[in-house]
Symmetry: C2
């Protein structure tokens, strides 16, 4: 299982400081939606420049204008870009095509998607599906995982986000996810370096 660190709601320079602390123990840097909406593509360009060899996910949450947004974000330096599963299949197909052209990855965020839509999204076999509890709902991640996996447990690449913390990470580790996405449980901890290491140890587990 890989560890993705989501960095949100800070200035770009602060984001770089946080990532620098956690760098050795994370597999993927996530430039959160708030950084993109606050600072635009500059957030991706600056962080790419600071971390030239790290995998970077840009959580752009595309829902329309897929060609424009995905080309811009890959050109800015992202390795993985996100599209909402709630978007039209046409939009997601364009994201898939742009990702293929750029030889990059794309992640489909299942935020608020219906079970029927989740099943439809399994056609995107070269993407990553992300089980995502909204920040605006604070509890229920394990329940959401269970109900979502009943549709998509056999999908090749799965990730999970939303409220992962030191209490539930061991339970999440047991499920079939490629990537666990952790945000404030690391970025807001008193010791970011130690916290990232703790999550990394659990996430690595017996593999």
């Amino acid at each position: 299982m890989k560890l993705q660190l989501a960095v949100d709601r800070v200035a770009i320079e602060k984001a770089i400081e946080i990532i620098r602390e956690a760098e050795n123990d994370i597999d993927i840097i996530e430039i959160g939606t708030s950084l993109i909406k606050d600072f635009g593509l500059e957030s991706v360009k600056r962080i790419r420049k600071e971390f030239p060899d790290k995998v970077i996910l840009a959580d752009i949450k595309t829902v329309d204008e897929a060609e424009y947004e995905f080309e811009a974000i890959y050109q800015a330096g992202a390795d993985i870009a996100t599209v909402l599963g709630a978007a039209s299949l046409e939009t997601i197909r364009i994201c898939q095509k742009v990702a293929q052209n750029y030889q990059k990855d794309y992640m489909i965020d299942l935020l608020e998607t219906s079970p029927e839509k989740q099943i439809e999204l399994k056609q995107f076999t070269d993407g990553i599906l992300c089980v995502h509890l909204p920040s605006d709902k604070s509890t229920g991640l394990l329940t959401l995982i269970e109900s979502t996996l009943s549709q998509i447990h056999d999908f090749p690449r799965l990730s999970v986000a939303g409220g992962i913390n030191s209490q539930n990470i061991a339970e999440i580790k047991k499920a079939n996810f490629e990537i666990a996405i952790v945000g404030s449980a690391i970025t807001k901890s008193a010791n970011i370096k130690e916290s990232a290491k703790m999550f990394k140890t659990i996430v690595d587990g017996d593999e």
Copy 2:
């Protein structure tokens, strides 16, 4: 009916030039999602500074982190902010609350929402519902309007977006919309000023 001009996929300075051309004939300036994702809040701050007395909608398409995003966008100078109807009801309730605190407006974008969700969204009686054909689907606006209005025709404040042009604006004028949102039919026309005036004349019509 009001005319909202959506400006997208240009640099901020170019956006300002386009708005300046159309200024006299538009009621609402829309800072498109692409400007926010490309340049961040700076796009809203710069355009607010140039047009201090115009109503500005920021198409931020919030889908989570509602308090953070809505506070940031209102503080940057927006009068109206958008949230996806596909977001959770919890998220939209937070948008509503922040809008009330700031005494600003909010628009719920019906992009890819089901008829059932559209009916649920009618509880947000102080918001504006936006019937929206995705850019990634190029045709079918009139069909979408007809099928969506069967759920929400009695909602107090309605807007419409997505592929409005000189051919269909007269037909759209007949329906019960408060705001018609026009993008490239004005911004990409050879004469932006004349084009905005033409749309404004039809939109004003006999009221």
